[in-house]
């Protein structure tokens, strides 16, 4: 299926693009940004903002780059005198009624109106006869405020709700200079994916109540990661300020989530900032748990895992492939029953995008765990734990009844945990481990796509990734022991032990992940 290519010259650079590509996308391939507001690659283009007007040789007028398809031999000028003058004019019109409240606007620093005005706008207004139009702020829904005055009417939000979410609650009300984004009467912007309109808004008109006044855009450190909300595995960016996670944003991945993420995932970050963390390894001595160093703790863990008999692993669905794989391998001497906890919830699809939904399996790495010999039979594993010789809890969140049952287990109890819980006082060994925000790792989503996430903040106290603990135990004590030092090495180690992950590395997964080759069965 070869597509016909056409050659165009954009700003002097020649590019070959498939026939039918718009000028704006062709320019992107040539490395040239055509300023735009209403165009978005995941939305239909209406060409209403007139910002992307470019000069095309032999065309009588400027053409909108977002809807004009390229033609063979076309010569496009993005920053010619005429095109620049048009953009300056558009910006001047937009700024007639745009308030100068950048100091208190949440979008400031990542605002496209701000950027383009700095680049090409007029320094001062010529419109002095009337005061600026004023409308009050409107409350659109559970997490969204609409600041009418800042709106530039690009209609990205309207098109997202109409064409992608297929829940047409937004519209353009009134006409001419009185126009604003209206919401259908008696309706709220409470679609499970509505938070995306905040990201889509090029200015600070639609803002998130959760992020309101929390931080300025330039203070944020951004880390590529994977959403932990469900097994869809949306690519996200974790944004931190002073080592605290302040918001999550979708990261484009055309094969998984395009440019979107759901509100459940978006707001599911507070657990990353929890303060009640286990900060040092706790070793049982008689009736007391004593804080100790890693060498002592690892020696004890080595003794416990050196035995034989029956062992049970109760793992969190948030644990990485590295951690799950090496912890399972650490117990090779035992007859292991391993299960991951999979919380469930209602499925919420995003209608306009195929194969994108908030999935009912609310754990990011269930499918990775299954390839590593873990099952979903949580109740069965809990029953087995009662009589097993060794029970390892890998950061699983438990309810009160399950904690009670774990206090009554017969064998030794080892906890690799992030936060303090009551049943820990029964444990032989409590080891502090990092959350997914504090380590590098790999998740496998429901389509068998392995995707990496990066460390976004510092670990709490002495916490270490679970794969490091298991790797040290597997390598044994001593200076010559060859334990994995990085998540990438741990992942390769997992690849050697489990055929599903063979021949993969962090490097080969890259930023967008890679679909695993399906291997027969899940067992080793």
């Amino acid at each position: 299926m070869t597509q016909e290519l056409v050659t165009v010259t954009i700003e002097g650079a020649q590019v070959q693009v498939p026939k039918g590509t718009t000028i704006i996308e062709a320019a992107k391939q040539a490395g040239i940004l055509v300023p735009h507001y209403c165009y978005h690659p995941s939305l239909p283009a209406p060409a209403v903002c007139r910002m992307c007007l470019v000069e095309v040789e032999k065309a009588p007028k400027l053409l909108p780059a977002c809807v004009t398809a390229v033609a063979e031999g076309q010569v496009v000028h993005v920053s010619s005198e005429r095109a620049k003058k048009a953009r300056t004019g558009v910006l001047e019109f937009l700024l007639i009624n745009h308030p100068l409240d950048c100091p208190i606007c949440d979008q400031s620093g990542e605002c496209e109106l701000q950027d383009y005005t700095f680049q090409e706008g007029r320094a001062a207004t010529r419109y002095r006869d009337y005061p600026k139009r004023y409308n009050p702020v409107e409350d659109f829904g559970p997490d969204i405020l609409y600041v009418t005055n800042r709106c530039i009417l690009c209609t990205r939000c309207v098109r997202f709700m109409d064409d992608v979410a297929k829940s047409a609650v937004l519209n353009v009300s009134e006409r001419g200079d009185r126009a604003f984004i209206g919401i259908a009467e008696e309706q709220l912007l409470d679609h499970p994916w509505s938070g995306n309109v905040v990201d889509l808004c090029p200015v600070g008109s639609l803002i998130s109540k959760d992020f309101l006044h929390k931080a300025r855009a330039w203070e944020l450190d951004k880390t590529a990661s994977i959403c932990t909300g469900c097994s869809q595995g949306c690519n996200i960016t974790i944004e931190t300020r002073d080592d605290a996670v302040v918001r999550l944003k979708p990261r484009p991945n055309m094969d998984v989530n395009r440019h979107f993420m759901c509100d459940t995932g978006r707001l599911d970050y507070r657990w990353m900032n929890r303060g009640d963390r286990i900060e040092a390894p706790l070793l049982r001595q008689g009736t007391k748990a004593v804080a100790t160093d890693w060498d002592t703790a690892l020696d004890r863990l080595g003794q416990l895992t050196g035995g034989s008999g029956r062992a049970v692993i109760l793992a969190s669905g948030r644990a990485s492939v590295e951690s799950l794989g090496l912890v399972r391998a650490m117990l090779d001497g035992f007859d292991v029953t391993a299960a991951v906890r999979v919380p469930t919830g209602p499925e919420a699809p995003l209608a306009g995008i195929p194969n994108l939904a908030l999935r009912s399996e609310r754990a990011p790495n269930v499918h990775g765990a299954e390839r590593l010999g873990y099952t979903r039979d949580w109740a069965g594993a809990l029953n087995a734990a009662g009589t097993a010789d060794l029970v390892v809890v890998l950061d699983a969140s438990l309810d009160a009844e399950e904690e009670q049952r774990l206090q009554e287990v017969k064998g030794a109890l080892v906890v690799l945990g992030t936060v303090v819980a009551d049943f820990h006082h029964r444990a032989e060994l409590v080891l502090p481990v990092t959350t997914m925000a504090e380590e590098n790792g790999v998740y496998v989503n429901r389509d068998g796509r392995a995707q990496r996430y990066m460390q976004a903040r510092n670990q709490a106290g002495m916490a270490r990734p679970s794969w490091w603990i298991a790797g040290e135990v597997l390598a044994g004590p001593g200076p010559d022991a060859d334990a994995p030092a990085t998540a990438a090495q741990a992942f390769e180690d997992v690849g050697r032990r489990y055929p599903a992950f063979a021949d993969l590395s962090h490097q080969s997964l890259g930023w967008v992940g890679q679909t695993l080759r399906e291997t027969a069965g899940t067992a080793r």
């Binding site: 950048c102 100091p103 208190i104 702020v137 006044h213 931080a215 300025r216 330039w218 203070e219």
Partner: protein, 172 residues
């Protein structure tokens, strides 16, 4: 090469001290009738006098002051530009929202020990809230008192710097 040393001859007879004493007393008494140039600090403070002597330059940059609006609230909207521009990284700012939905600083602290008194904070402030002051007496009993919080910054009574005007750099 030998260094030449001038050797003075010691006086051979006794010399009178009366002449030298009278000379010294004459100078002392002469000063009693001349204009005094010493300022009696701290009883006397540097205020601008008729000759313009002993006064601070209008561009003097001292410890900070936060200006307030008519209701006594700080003018600061917590935009975050001053911590961003600060080369010494001495401003701590945590933004918040008040009952009327206005953005305001929950925490605004300046560590005056770290401050290099460049005046960038005043220059960058879009609300003309934070200013460097016409002030130089900063003694305290403890180091911790040099971290000025919002209340302290608001209650400073001293005058504020006008910095320099780019169109009039010499202040004329």
């Amino acid at each position: 090469m030998a260094i030449g040393v001038k050797v003075l001859k010691r006086p051979e007879r006794q010399v009178s001290y009366v002449r030298a004493t009278l000379k010294g007393l004459a100078l002392t008494f002469k000063h009693m009738f001349e204009t005094k140039v010493t300022m009696q600090y701290p009883e006397e403070k540097s205020t601008r006098d008729a000759r313009g002597a002993w006064s601070l330059s209008p561009r003097w940059r001292g410890t900070h002051r936060m200006l307030t609006d008519e209701q006594g609230r700080s003018k600061c909207v917590a935009c975050g530009l001053c911590p961003q521009i600060c080369p010494a990284n001495c401003i701590k700012l945590v933004p918040g929202e008040d009952e009327q939905g206005n953005r305001y600083p929950l925490i605004y602290e300046i560590d005056e020990f770290r401050c290099v008194f460049c005046g960038y904070c005043q220059e960058v402030c879009p609300e003309e809230a934070i200013h460097v002051g016409q002030h130089y007496e900063n003694s305290e009993y403890s180091r911790s008192r040099f971290v000025y919080d919002l209340e302290r910054l608001q209650s400073q009574p001293h005058a504020v710097s006008t910095l320099w005007d780019p169109t009039d750099p010499r202040g004329e």
